[in-house]
């Protein structure tokens, strides 16, 4: 792209980095404010017997098993946290479609792993003139929806809630081995061909847009996910046959693995949509929530692979 046309106003490449670097004064006040109003809100919820989103979040904080971090992306993104809730949706991404399906299911509290307003930290200051933003906000207000993001601490939960769900969806818990670092996930599976592995994954995770690098006939047994970035993948690659990535720029892992193959190494790559790599973790989240939230229905609503590939 022509750099001249692009403004450098927008955001940041890596999210973990992002949260630490971009906690604005406004967000900080919001966090501080939420702890100030926490006590009365809790009392209100208890006295009326009507559950609020804020009360659910306080139970999540008590049950997640790790100290609450600041700064964090895990915060209310829109809606009144003290409004009584009718039901809870867990989802990977609070897309407009997921919000509509939540309303249809009778749930007005949406717990989303990823952003609502299309940037790592849900920065909305640049969206004031955006008609789509206003349409989505109007829908949320009209239906009394509350959206809360649950990203950092669900990953920080032990086991990582996202990978616990993914392992369950794949039936791979039994194959997990300890990884090279806390962010890597490695598996030793019964030996198969690269193509068979890809087909199995496509079926189990409902993948529509799988992209592959490597010989379909390659015999494989060691599979690993190291993170979104090539630096993380490089640490893992000597120990695996198949690298699994999602939400990764094309010039990183795909180009690396194609060069590795050209250099004579027996490697392969499966690149999935971000949803297929992580949304089973929000199904896991629904199961976990039900162990300490019993007053309202809780449902996982998949946002699904956003892409399809034409034949």
């Amino acid at each position: 792209m022509d750099s001249g046309r692009r403004t450098v106003l927008d955001f940041i490449p890596g999210r973990q980095l992002t949260m630490e670097q971009t906690l604005s004064r406004r967000n900080f006040c919001k966090l501080a404010g939420s702890s100030l109003v926490f006590a009365p809100a809790l009392m209100r919820a208890q006295s009326s017997g009507r559950l609020t989103a804020r009360e659910v979040v306080s139970r999540i904080k008590k049950n997640v098993g790790v100290a609450w971090r600041t700064p964090t992306a895990d915060d209310f993104k829109i809606g009144d946290p003290d409004h009584p809730i009718t039901g809870i949706t867990t989802t990977f991404m609070s897309t407009f479609d997921v919000l509509e399906r939540s309303v249809a299911a009778g749930n007005n509290f949406v717990i989303s792993h990823e952003p609502t307003f299309w940037s790592a930290t849900d920065v909305v200051s640049d969206l004031r003139d955006d008609p789509l933003y206003h349409q989505k906000v109007d829908f949320i207000r009209k239906n009394n929806l509350v959206v809360w993001r649950f990203h950092d601490h669900w990953h920080a939960h032990r086991p990582d809630g996202i990978f616990a769900g993914w392992n369950r969806a794949m039936g791979w818990d039994q194959y997990a081995v300890s990884g090279a670092n806390p962010f890597s996930h490695q598996y030793v599976i019964p030996e198969t061909s690269f193509e068979e592995l890809a087909r199995d994954m496509q079926t189990k995770l409902n993948v529509r847009s799988m992209r592959l690098v490597g010989d379909p006939k390659l015999r494989v047994t060691r599979v690993g996910n190291g993170g979104h970035y090539i630096g993380q993948c490089m640490a893992l690659l000597p120990n695996i046959d198949v690298l699994l990535v999602f939400e990764c720029r094309e010039w990183e892992a795909a180009e690396y693995v194609r060069d590795a193959i050209a250099a004579g190494q027996k490697k392969a790559l499966i690149q999935l949509a971000h949803e297929n790599g992580e949304e089973a973790g929000m199904d896991e989240c629904a199961r976990w929530l039900k162990t300490f939230v019993t007053e309202v229905p809780i449902k996982f609503i998949p946002s699904r692979d956003p892409f399809w590939i034409p034949a």
Binding site: D2, T7, Y229, M234, L237, R249, D259, A263, F307, P310
Partner: protein, 292 residues
């Protein structure tokens, strides 16, 4: 005889815009690999200097590679934010990596010089990347005329009025024309398509907002999109019935035809050297290619 440095200077003289200099640590335009004193035997242009592209260049006697991406899988520590680059691997990690070492060895053993030409190429009044992509799609005849810009392929003149079709047909047709596989689509295959915005490389939300200010645009064809930014933004546009769809061709697929334009441009002032466009080809294959 011409050296890599002289080749670079000739490019600077002919690019037609003031050359923007290299940033200290970033992969900005200029010599990324090899010595400026290296004698250039021939020039290959490509989107990204894969090991395979380097081998093909060497086997046809060419040792200068002019490309948009870097050889080592990153746009550098100081890549601008809008590149959406991940954190670059540390020098230490790179030096120990077996693939990086193999590629580095091949580069030095064959006296290869890798020159990056991206920002300065993009600063030209005619967008060579856009023009190359429009040609590859067979869309030149559909380019919306605009009197607002002096050049037909002004970087802002990205609109094409296609004969009425639907999203599924357009996606299949684009895939066939570009001879690629991993085309990803957001939207209903039956959704109507007429006026399309064409964007090479990465699509950002701010750009989609600008595009939709143009009247009657229903579809965007681009290279890639970040999956928590422009991709869900487009899903929401579709749900909100504000657009028909998004077709993502891939980074390489959307930028590679522009490397053909770079080769054509080089030939206008490099008559003493062989110049060849060596496409890297898309990195991916898909399961539908191998049948079931």
């Amino acid at each position: 005889m011409i050296t890599a440095q002289q080749l670079l200077e000739r490019m600077q003289k002919n690019v037609g815009v003031p050359w923007q200099s290299q940033r200290p640590d970033g992969y900005s335009d200029g010599i990324l690999q090899g010595s400026p004193d290296t004698e250039v035997k021939g020039v290959a242009t490509t989107f990204t200097p894969t090991l395979e592209v380097l081998r093909r260049a060497v086997s046809s006697g060419k040792n200068a590679i002019i490309c948009r991406e870097s050889p080592f899988y990153s746009r550098g520590e100081r890549a601008p934010l809008f590149y959406r680059n991940g954190p670059a691997p540390s020098k230490d990690v790179l030096e120990k990596d077996s693939v990086v070492r193999a590629k580095q060895d091949f580069i030095s053993q064959n006296n290869i010089v890798i020159l990056r030409l991206t920002e300065n190429w993009d600063a030209r009044p005619t967008d060579g990347q856009l023009q190359g992509l429009a040609r590859a799609l067979g869309w030149e005849k559909f380019h919306s005329p605009s009197n607002a810009y002096p050049q037909a392929y002004d970087p802002r003149n990205i609109y094409f009025q296609l004969p009425k079709t639907d999203l599924g047909t357009l996606a299949r047709d684009s895939k066939r024309r570009m001879k690629i596989n991993a085309v990803r689509v957001v939207g209903d295959p039956e959704a109507p398509v007429g006026k399309v915005a064409l964007v090479h490389g990465l699509l950002l939300v701010a750009e989609v907002e600008r595009i939709l200010k143009e009247p009657r645009v229903d579809t965007v064809v681009a290279g890639d999109a970040v999956e928590w930014e422009a991709a869900p933004y487009f899903q929401d546009l579709v749900t909100a019935k504000r657009a028909s769809g998004l077709i993502l061709l891939g980074e390489e697929a959307s930028e590679e035809p522009g490397s053909g334009e770079v080769a054509a441009w080089l030939k206008t002032f490099l008559s003493e050297l062989p110049v060849e466009w060596i496409p890297a080809g898309e990195p991916f294959w898909t399961l539908s290619q191998v049948g079931s």
